[in-house]
Amino acid sequence: MSGFRSLRALVLGLGLMAGATPALAAGEGVSLPDTRFSFDGLFGHFDRASAQRGFQVYKEVCASCHSMHLLSYRNLRQLGLSEAEVAGIAATVQVMDGPNDEGQMVERPGRASDRFKSPFANEQAARSANNGAYPPDLSVITKAREGGADYIHALLVGYEDPPPGVQVADGMHYNRYFAGHQIAMPQPINSEGQVEYHDGTKATVEQMVRDVTQFLTWAAEPELEERKAMGVKIIIFLTILGGLAYAVKRKVWHDVH
């Protein structure tokens, strides 16, 4: 009996510890609207069509300021793009390579193995072009913000007029979900049809925001599908193993009790 009691205490203790943790990192500010994404939950997976559209939004809107230097064009294969499509996308940029045999740096069209080309040469160039603000690299952005994908979604739809009495500094914009509410980035996704989707999906602001959030989550956690699928299998395996281990234990202890 006491074995069971202590086991329960243990589970309770673990729960307490785990429960204490999200609270200690809870950021300031407003609660985020709950968005249900395909990658949530135990069996979460990426909606490839949405992520492909999201890549288009990134390419046509975000990429003018934000780099994603941890991704390579070849990674897009995982979203269902063909080898030829990926090669075509990569070839649209010019990449500095070299030095060649003459010691010269040369520009060449991008290859699938190249990293996403960054919009600015360095942080100083990025700041100078953006009124002193530095547009962060988006490679792992959903992991780097409290609230993850929900936060990114909320931020992108959170632009609104400042409440009366709130003075927004020059070159800043009011955002309901940004810490301190004043953000240097102007509302990036702001009008219906801003991006023309090839698959006929209607490009509402909410649709574009959801798509780009889907894409950014994939970019930050490309292993998510494999991880969750493996997790389900391992938990099932361990549950059965646990049952067997417990049965063995009962059997072994049978004559002692």
């Binding site: 006491s2 200690l24 941890l70 913000r145």
Partner: protein, 423 residues
């Protein structure tokens, strides 16, 4: 048998040949096979074995991570992300390693609580306990340095805050900090030495764990009743009884571990650590990893920096002298009706400190932290020494076998119905 050879009991000729010259098989058989172990362990006694397994997991995953990691301020962050993306099962290695650290502390905290509740630190196990405290300190140092390696914002600023604690010491403080850093700020030399030490320390821990186990096998294990086994009727051989019982705990441990790694890999981490370290931008709240929060709360509970640092180190140092602070001859709190509620409050204080350690240093958290800190020390310095004199313990059972066999006296096996296991 030639002189100088060990007299081996093994039948297999190869094993026998080796065992006669190097009796490792005899040793394993003695220490993990027939080793007489109290028959009444509950599942809290799983956690020593779990900690051992956890250490092996950390070393195994860590070695493969080190093969793909670059200890340079300009490359560390990206090299970790490359592990996540391009190394085969790199994400699994890294998430297992990062969450393995959390699991290690969960396991060790429960292991320590077990020792506190059942009086495992009392004679004759004082040195065994003290070696355990050394392991805990080494673990903390190792975990701290490991958290610096990904070179994210919390890595950098955590390292800056924690190393700066040493500047509180008068006269030599600043020099110590410069010496730790290998420069005048947390920078590349710091990262390099932390990587080197982070790789070294687990093997030091392994050595000290060996001493911990060696000492354990001299005194034998404590048990939930806290009384010594009086004969063979009170013990069972370690194998198969406790190998079987530890296996159950091990699978439960793996399930918790798997839930973290596969479904909430970043739950116990901090989002800011996915932002590359930037010495020019301070995060709004610098918090250490969750397992340091109780001690971080004690540090911040004191308005004076040096006082805070001393109290924080003191909160662990006090465990070294615990065997002599607790004056009660009774080990298990099952028989200490007064000590039990005081200990429960102490556990609560520990969890409260864990909670407020992650909160910004403002009211009401500061006051709560101070009250909890005061009780933390009061419990060791005043309550335990006094209780030994004032408390009237419940009568101890005559032997381990008696209460286990309920009715008293040996019964034929299977004579009692037992719907539940009751180890």
């Amino acid at each position: 048998m030639a002189t100088g050879l060990h007299k081996s009991d093994f039948q297999n000729p190869v094993i026998r040949w080796v065992d006669a010259r190097l009796p490792v098989f005899t040793m394993m058989q003695k220490e993990y096979g027939t080793f007489p172990t109290p028959r009444n362990f509950n599942y809290f006694w799983n956690f020593g074995a779990l900690a051992m397994v956890n250490l092996v997991i950390m070393i195994a995953t860590g070695i493969f991570l080190a093969m793909n990691y670059t200890a340079h301020t300009g490359m560390a962050f990206d090299s970790v992300e490359r592990i996540m993306r391009d190394v085969n099962y790199g994400w699994l290695l890294r998430y297992a390693h990062a969450n393995g650290a959390s699991m290690f502390f969960i396991v060790v905290y429960i292991h320590i609580f077990r020792g506190l509740y059942y009086g495992s630190y009392k004679a004759p196990r004082e040195l065994l306990w003290m070696i355990g405290v050394v392991i805990f300190l080494l673990m903390m140092a190792t975990a701290f340095m490991g958290y610096v390696l990904p070179w994210g914002q919390m890595s950098f600023w955590g390292a800056t805050v924690i190393t700066n604690l040493f500047s509180a010491f008068p006269l030599v403080g600043e020099s110590i900090v410069t010496w730790l850093w290998g420069g005048f700020s947390v920078d590349n030399p710091t990262l390099n030495r932390f990587f080197s030490l982070h790789y070294l320390m687990p093997f030091v821990i392994f050595g000290v764990v060996f001493l911990h186990v060696a000492a354990l096998h001299i005194t034998g294990s404590n048990n939930p009743l806290g009384i010594d086994p009086k004969g063979p009727q009170d013990t069972v051989p370690f194998h198969p009884y406790y190998t079987a019982k530890d296996s159950v705990g091990l699978v439960v441990y793996f399930i918790v571990f798997a839930v973290l790694v596969f479904f909430f890999p970043n739950l116990l981490g901090h989002a800011d650590n996915y932002i590359p370290a930037n010495p020019l931008v301070t995060p709004p709240h610098i918090v250490p990893e969750w397992y340091f929060l109780p001690f971080y709360a004690i540090l911040r509970a004191v308005p004076d920096k040096l006082g805070g640092v001393l109290l924080m180190f003191g909160s662990i140092a006090i465990l070294f002298v615990l065997p002599w602070l607790d004056t009660s001859p009774v080990r298990s709190m099952r028989f200490r009706p007064l000590a039990r509620p005081f200990f429960a409050v102490w556990c609560l204080c520990f969890l409260v400190l864990l909670y407020v350690g992650g909160k910004p240093p403002e009211e009401p958290f500061v006051t709560i932290a101070r009250v909890a800190t005061a009780y933390y020390f009061l419990y060791f310095l005043v309550i335990l020494p006094l209780l030994g004199r004032l408390e009237r313990p419940l009568p101890l059972p005559e032997s381990i076998a008696r209460p286990v066999l309920r009715g008293g006296g040996p019964l034929p096996a299977g004579a009692m119905s037992k719907p539940m296991e009751k180890a």
